[in-house]
Symmetry: C2
């Protein structure tokens, strides 16, 4: 369990909401202002800003303010953090099923077949 | 936004908790009984069972009961669902940065260099 990266939990937490999932999907296509990001949602701006705050806290999104416009960007490193964790679990699972298949083959005496 | 798979949200929701993250990590190494899964956690069994229920609802975990022993297994297809979504966002982001790099090169007159 040495690979318990605390950042992974906060990324999954950030992605556990449909609004935040849609915002990440939008930002994957390129940066956008808060106004642009909020437009598709039937939601009060303060509620939307709370979702953005969760995304920023997780590190998935960064933002910069120029004048009165705050622009949000996806930070792909946190996408990688989450994808790497999932890939590791997949590899562990594959290793387990491979060991199981080898064991069953040997038990059935089929292990030496060409 | 055609790739808004509702299953993705429930997988990220299931993984948004450190106990459930640890259970998935344990099950990636192979099936385990509820008793074995619960052992490392300082938590009442009913609370632990609620976490297992969330994992089962998301499809990440399946379980079968033989006699008095319930055995849990990871279903790697839901791991793939989440990894695929993350990989798509990564690809979108790469495509955006590539387009941006091409644009900047052209604007600076460097696009025609060999």
């Amino acid at each position: 369990m040495a690979n318990r990266d605390p950042a992974v939990g906060s990324v999954f937490q950030a992605l556990s909401d449909s609004t935040r999932l849609a915002v990440v999907q939008r930002l994957a296509a390129g940066p956008a202002s808060v106004k642009q990001l909020a437009a598709p949602f039937d939601m009060a701006l303060p509620s939307f800003m709370k979702h953005l705050a969760v995304l920023e806290e997780s590190g998935l999104v960064t933002s910069t303010k120029v004048g009165r416009v705050r622009t949000c960007r996806l930070d792909p490193r946190r996408i990688d953090t989450a994808a790497d964790w999932l890939n590791r679990q997949r590899e562990l699972w594959e290793a387990h099923t491979n060991r199981l298949a080898t064991y069953v083959e040997n038990e059935m005496g089929g292990g030496a077949e060409p």
